[in-house]
């Protein structure tokens, strides 16, 4: 008769490797948490950094749903991702983006927000997005294409990946100052800083050491 630890071993992988089940729950949890963060940001009409920031700008400009736009603008990057990061990373990122996009769009059917303070929305939203991304990174997945494009550009030109990413974020966030009132734009910057600092401090492969 199988005992409890035999059954559990199918679900919990070796120390140096995530099982399929562990990756699935990591990506689902990361996408759920990130989608809640993006939902709060959207309710306060904020912008953020990266592809999500670009999707917010297009969403406010066109009126199309955030989820649809976020899903669509990430599509071109999967080719690059497949060439540079391999099939597993690309499939996991595709799943993460798909689940996040769908959830942000349906969230308002189950969760109605009343008044929301933009600075708190930025703080909580940035933190949630940071937690979501950290979970995805630790399971070798991501939430969008700018990082991959930045690495690609670093290989082809004299620009560094970090510079490309910062330049992109600077452009996206300066649009916020153009289209939104000053407090909203400043809250957007706060949210982007919270998210990026959180990921920077906590994403360390010397501490979380699972290889795949």
């Amino acid at each position: 008769m199988a005992n409890v630890s035999d059954v559990l071993s199918h679900f919990s992988g070796r120390p140096d490797r995530h099982s399929l089940f562990e990756d699935a729950q990591g990506i689902l949890a990361g996408a759920l948490i990130a989608s809640l963060g993006l939902f709060f940001m959207g309710k306060a009409h904020l912008v953020t950094s990266g592809m999500a920031g670009a999707a917010f700008l297009l969403h406010y400009a066109s009126g199309l749903s955030f989820g649809l736009l976020f899903f669509l603008i990430n599509l071109p990057f999967y080719i690059l991702s497949f060439l540079r990061m391999g099939l597993a990373f690309t499939l996991k990122s595709f799943m993460a983006v798909a689940v996040t996009s769908a959830l942000v769009d349906v969230q308002s059917r189950y969760l109605a927000i009343g008044d929301i303070n933009p600075f708190w929305a930025a703080l909580i939203g940035g933190l949630l997005l940071g937690f979501g991304l950290l979970a995805l990174y630790r399971h070798r997945a991501s939430l969008g294409g700018i990082g991959i494009l930045a690495v690609y550009i670093q290989d082809r030109t004299r620009f560094r990946a970090g510079q490309v990413q910062m330049a992109f974020d600077a452009v996206v966030l300066s649009f916020a100052f153009w289209i939104a009132p000053l407090p909203i734009a400043m809250a957007s910057v706060l949210g982007a800083v919270v998210m990026n600092v959180f990921v920077m401090v906590n994403h360390r492969s010397d501490r979380y050491s699972v290889l795949r």
């Binding site: 729950q25 189950y110 303070n117 708190w120 703080l123 501490r207």
Partner: protein, 214 residues
């Protein structure tokens, strides 16, 4: 001032290595964990849900008496710090106190700045459980916690030989029994789903062999 506690100099606490969190890293970990837990509590509370542990006791008292969750949660955890200090040391106790104090304060403030007009109880259970579970994962990885039952269970295991896991299960069953006085069966079912999600997040992801820093 004794900066040589536990054989460490003051500058050791500022150092960040693979095996050692710096004071700043612990502070941001505890603050982020408390913030995430507070949001989870807000989602559970907005749907009238309950949970396990001392947070569950705090929810029961909050719904039964009308006192705010933050105040009750802070108060019910007070007796456990002495045990925590005796058994798990000063650093763990201070970080746990900070996490609980911050969670109490932020969960008071959040409903005023992020108003939830309506939330489906099942969605509240899923997201609330996920958020509180993730928050506790962050706190555990920074050697802190969010409540006293675990500490008491460990103490009883040592003194009386009761298995800590069963003691904790017993506490949570008591919370569940009392919850029938303040909640409908549907709310209780959703609460159990939320508690399962919370504990699954921790059971699957809290592994010392993967996250190595102290």
């Amino acid at each position: 001032m004794d900066t040589q506690a536990a054989g460490k100099t003051f500058s050791d606490y500022l150092k960040s290595t693979s095996e050692q969190h710096s004071v700043f890293e612990d502070a941001q970990g505890v603050a982020s964990g408390a913030m995430l837990a507070s949001l989870g509590v807000q989602l559970l509370s907005a749907a009238g849900l309950l949970t396990g542990g001392t947070a569950g006791v705090a929810f029961l008292l909050h719904y039964a008496t009308g006192f705010s969750f933050g105040l009750v949660f802070f108060a019910v955890n007070l007796p456990f710090y002495y045990l925590a200090w005796k058994r798990l040391g000063l650093a763990f106790t201070l970080k746990t106190f900070s996490a609980i104090a911050a969670t109490s304060l932020i969960s008071e403030a959040l409903p005023r700045v992020i108003g939830i007009a309506h939330i489906d109880p099942l969605v509240a259970a899923l997201f609330g459980g996920l958020l509180v579970g993730t928050a506790m994962l962050a706190l555990f990885r920074h050697r802190a916690s969010l409540g006293g039952f675990g500490v008491l269970a460990l103490y009883l295991q040592e003194k009386l030989g009761w298995r800590a896991g069963f003691v904790q299960l017993g506490f949570d069953c008591c919370v569940l029994v009392f919850s029938f006085f303040v909640a409908t069966p549907k709310i209780i079912l959703c609460s159990i789903i939320g508690a399962v999600v919370l504990n699954m997040v921790i059971a699957i992801n809290h592994r010392r062999d993967r996250y190595v820093a102290m």
